[in-house]
Amino acid sequence: MATIAAGLSVTLRQRKPVPLECTLDCAPGELLALVGPSGSGKSTVLRCIAGLHRPSQGRVECGRASWLDRERGIALLPQHRRVGMVFQNYSLLPHLSAQDNVALALWQLPPGQRAAQAREWLARVHLHGLERQFPAQLSGGQQQRVALARALARTMTVTDEPAVLLLDEPFSAVDQVTRRKLQQELARLRRELSIPIVLVTHDLDEARMLADRMVLLHHGVSLQSGPPEEVMTRPANAAIAHLVGLGNLFEGIVGGPDANGKLVLEWLGRRLEVARNPGFAQGDKVNWVIPPEGILLHRSDRPSRGEAENPVSGRVVDCVVLGPYTQIMLRPESDQGKLPLTFSVPTHVAQRNRVAVGSVARITLLAQAIHLMRWEDSGRGERR
């Protein structure tokens, strides 16, 4: 099953029908998540890679093969790109059985080998025994597996051509239990694949669980790429912070180093210790974010005596139980009408510490989690 190692490199630009300004790279064996809200152009980017859409400008290269190069007038048909595609609604052919759907992607093999190969692929996605079923007789999760088997079969039949696997929101049409199961299976399966894999999703958690790297797309523009953990905790600017759902977005001023030589952020009359300085000078105005997991609640029965990291006390303005977790909004003391901090604790922790609306609580802002960004005026207004 060894396919030659070839990375995918994509640059796309167009104005209509969907504006695109997108660059992405995906190494062999890497799973790249293309993340963005609906309508951000993720699917269009995927279709450009597959050859189902032709952008007005751009290049798509897979290894040494050029699939698209508008300047050189190259635009290969989808048939001539070795692309395994799992469509959002799977697009199984309704008149063909599960086995024949997979065999369709194996047409380059001698006719005698196709059926056996197709059965093998179905077995790999745990569909043994369902070969003769038609798509309409299969559950959503089973249909997704057939689609995955078909895509894999396409990318692996001829192994000396560079290939990519493209997944267009493959988990969006199944229930949550099935989704978890399929996601785990993909995580297992991908370890055996040595081709670039591009996963389109609007689900940040999915990207975090499955992807090695992610590209954040908004209005067709690729804004930031990197490991999901990094993009989601250290966004490049306030707009990206909003897109990855970081609500704790504030303004502050970079202060001088403290007694230990650590960088300090001045915020609402407080001096917060910051572990990482991406290159700001003293006196710079900045936006800063802290992910909810960077905020710790102090125990009410054992108040810390000031030695805790970046202690902040305030009044709880909102407290919502969301099953096993409770979301708390805390307005810091001496607040000058600014936004509260939002974070989550396990519900039993909230109960034991008697967190309720109106109560006073103390928290720690982990210096490691505070992320400074270039100040932007528009940062505040966009908050939803």
């Binding site: 048939q79 595609m85 609604n89 052919l93 309704p94 992607a105 047409w107 038609f134």
Partner: protein, 225 residues
């Protein structure tokens, strides 16, 4: 019973269906899937034989295929035969007046094929030709079947255009429909009745077969999308 007329009708219907089917597929695909300038005009032209009185259509075909027309002269130069008042001309006219009966059901069937089905085939590496045979035609099968039955049955029954273009030459252009008219004119009511009953039976059988076949396709889940 005018057996030669019935044979001629069946020959004409079979030839029309056989020739028109690929032509209709060729025409219906772009009408279903592409957007191009003048598409509305083409659709209107295809539908025209539905609303035009057969005599009007027949009149224009007579002009277009006649001895002084370009197609008529070309055909005469090539074969030494005339197009009008011959089986060949009748076949040509039959292709024209059956156009909507073949194109429209096929166009609707292609229209109903989800774009994703074709794209999935392309992403499996299937060429346009393979996609036509493995995906498009099997999925459009109910529409193709409708087109076949409608064209066949309609050719058997067409009267006005046949009379205008072909006249009434036994063994060459006298179809069953013309023959029935002849019998009535010559007060042979029993002959007309027998042939009419036969036409009713054939048409009924055709529609019945169509219904059974389409329903079976639906039951197998073949046309579900």
């Amino acid at each position: 019973m005018d057996w030669p007329a019935l044979t001629l009708s069946l020959q004409l219907a079979a030839a029309t269906t056989l020739l028109l089917l690929p032509l209709a597929i060729l025409l219906a695909r772009p009408l279903a899937w592409s957007r191009f300038a003048g598409k509305g005009l083409v659709e209107a032209l295809v539908a025209l034989p539905l609303v035009l009185p057969p005599t009007v259509l027949g009149f224009y075909l007579l002009l277009a295929l006649g001895e002084h027309s370009a197609p008529g002269r070309l055909y005469h130069a090539l074969t030494g035969r005339t197009l009008v008042f011959s089986f060949d001309g009748l076949l040509l006219a039959s292709l024209v007046f059956n156009l909507p009966f073949a194109v429209q059901p096929i166009q609707r069937a292609f229209d109903a094929i989800p774009r994703g089905s074709r794209e999935a085939a392309w992403c499996c590496g299937l060429s346009a030709w393979r996609t036509l045979w493995r995906v498009e035609l099997p999925l459009a099968w109910p529409g193709l079947l409708s087109a076949i039955v409608l064209t066949f049955a309609h050719t058997l029954g067409e009267f006005g255009v046949v009379l205008m273009v072909g006249g009434n030459i036994a063994g060459e252009t006298r179809t069953v429909a013309i023959s029935i008219y002849d019998r009535v004119q010559s007060f042979d009511e029993s002959g007309a009745a027998a042939m009419s009953a036969l036409l009713v039976a054939i048409s009924f059988a055709a529609i019945g077969t169509l219904n059974v076949l389409t329903r079976r396709i639906g039951r197998d889940g073949h046309d579900r999308v």
